[in-house]
Symmetry: C2
Subunit: 350 residues, 2 copies
């Protein structure tokens, strides 16, 4: 598998080198100045098909003379977060947050101490925790993310994200964003694209830091969302309470559904890294004109992690880069980003 | 009641005239040039407390020297649509659309012909139609607004909105927007505010024309929303189908809840006209610093319609300007806009 991905990368690269020798109209129209500029804006990217796909797409859709020109108001680019914009291993950051919150929840509601799944989480036994079912995790998510006023949740999450550190790098999670992807966000915005996060993670959680970390304002974060309930405190001051009622499961088919609900426009570019992003990329690709679909492929065990088909994981594993996803990408002209080959550096602190 | 509202308007106007003779620091800071500019941008407004409240709010929140300055990214203003931005009588425009669609729905599903509430709608008997229950109307809404691909709905709604006319003025519904409110939208945007529609009407319906009519893009329309379902056609091309499943009832408490879901920020300014907007205005007013809460009061039977407490309607009527709402406005410092006194003209075509 790995050799196949590699060979495919080589072939495309060879083709591209040859193409560079020809007078391609698209290149001539935009000129070398713009090309250089894009090169410097994507400084953490190695030259190759992935970087080129981004530059070509932006050129085609922002050049008024191009048949694929997209009016500024329609320029929407959507980005998955976990595994696409920042590290998702060994555990989604938000899940780490929820597990960290369990002691505080149990302190308020002592009856939970001897009840599963809370008992297992309190034990600190990582092996037992890894075996918790999806249903168990859901119960932990609801218990730790709902039942409080919106402002209380925001303050708690903010405090955590400003102090909690990743076990491998001993750095803040917000430092574990991928430098090349931050450059793509900036590059797209510099070319009139509005960048949205479309994440399976909690909308309210990601909104707490999205502006500071990604330059993406809260109103451009679409995520899994629970409802809120309007009420009044004793002084009749109104406030919203986070409710354990799922409004939008922003994974898989939920991503295009969430995009329609929250944005109401089909994206022109979409970035993901797992089967949970498949429908978002399909939906993006089903639009007219130039569209850019990209998948971050985690094949760099040394600098980050390696997982997905190259590592021989079974296709059925939820939320990973399966063989079927890889095949669909090849068939539908999506571009696979090899972290190992396409990224000069991965983190800003390197 | 009318006399009381009128007297209150007079008192505020007298106060304001006196205030204009004093050297108020806020006025000095921004200077007469800006004041004139605001005056010309709000050309359809008579001078008075309502116009002044808008100008004072914008000055206080956009002047860097002001203690109430609001950073541009936080400048959010929300507007109800029906009765606030355009005419809602004798019937909400979207409901007219749904009733107009019934024959097409019945043609596709002939079994509905002899079933209520469709039978009554097909009869064309206005009196009987006016007696349909909320549950009946809900059934008509679901039957006419869901069950088709998103694109099919959009094309149908677009065609209708470009041709259907209001029975009184014999003009397109989109011509029946309030000129003074269009000026407020523009004025707020010229001062860095992002303007959102927050409507009890259907989100997908309003998005069809919001950009063209109000200059508000689809992603800034929050409305009552049904879910969509992702699927594939025979060629495996993906599409979204509108489902008869309510996700967000964007009325009453649903307005602040919808604002949190879709925007994730508390508005600094909110405009409404009925009890359905009460919670949105309360939620806006509960924020720190300068906030602007305004209610359009329909007291102009000659140029538009007169309804609400001045007309002696019972307080319990859903979705109107009740006495209780009027009292809350006075108590909480919300500004009531008198269509009769505050608006020089109502429509652009006048």
């Amino acid at each position: 598998m790995k050799s196949r991905a590699y060979a495919s990368g080589i072939n495309r690269r060879v083709l591209l080198t040859c193409a560079a020798l020809l007078p391609i109209p698209a290149l001539l129209r935009t000129g070398p100045a713009l090309a250089q500029e894009a090169g410097s804006q994507l400084a953490s990217w190695n030259d190759g098909p992935a970087k080129q796909a981004i530059i070509d797409f932006v050129r085609a859709t922002t050049d008024q003379a191009s048949s694929k020109f997209v009016p500024p108001e329609e320029r929407i680019a959507t980005f998955d977060q976990d595994g696409t914009l920042w590290v998702e291993h060994p555990m989604y950051t938000q899940l780490v947050y929820c597990l960290d919150r369990v002691p505080a929840v149990v302190a308020k509601e002592p009856g939970l101490k001897n009840r599963e799944p809370f008992k297992t989480v309190l034990s600190g036994n990582r092996e037992a925790m890894a075996k918790l079912s999806l249903r168990d995790l859901e119960e932990i998510l609801f218990a730790t993310l709902t039942g409080m006023p919106v402002e209380v949740f925001e303050a708690e999450a903010k405090k955590w994200i400003e102090t909690a550190k990743h076990p491998r790098w001993k750095r803040l999670y917000t430092e574990l964003t991928y430098k090349p992807m931050l450059e793509v966000l900036q590059y797209m915005r510099a070319n009139g694209y509005r960048t949205y996060i479309v994440t399976g993670g909690g909308q309210d959680f990601v909104r707490v830091y999205s502006e500071q970390v990604y330059g993406i304002p809260p109103e451009q974060v679409v995520g899994t969302a629970a409802g809120t309930k309007y009420g009044y405190n004793r002084d009749r001051k109104p406030f919203l309470t986070k409710e354990p009622k799922l409004l939008l499961n922003d994974n898989d088919a939920g991503k295009p559904e969430g995009i329609h609900l929250m944005i109401g426009r089909r994206p022109y570019a979409a970035f993901g890294n797992s089967t949970g992003d498949r429908q978002m990329l399909e939906y993006t690709g089903a639009g007219d004109g130039a569209r850019l679909m990209m998948l971050v492929f985690h094949d760099d065990a040394q600098r980050e992690y390696a997982y997905g088909p190259a590592q021989g994981l079974p296709d059925t594993k939820v939320g990973t880069f399966t063989q079927a996803l890889y095949d669909e990408a090849k068939k539908d002209g999506w571009t696979v980003i090899s972290m190992k080959n396409d990224w000069k550096r991965i983190f800003a602190f390197e």
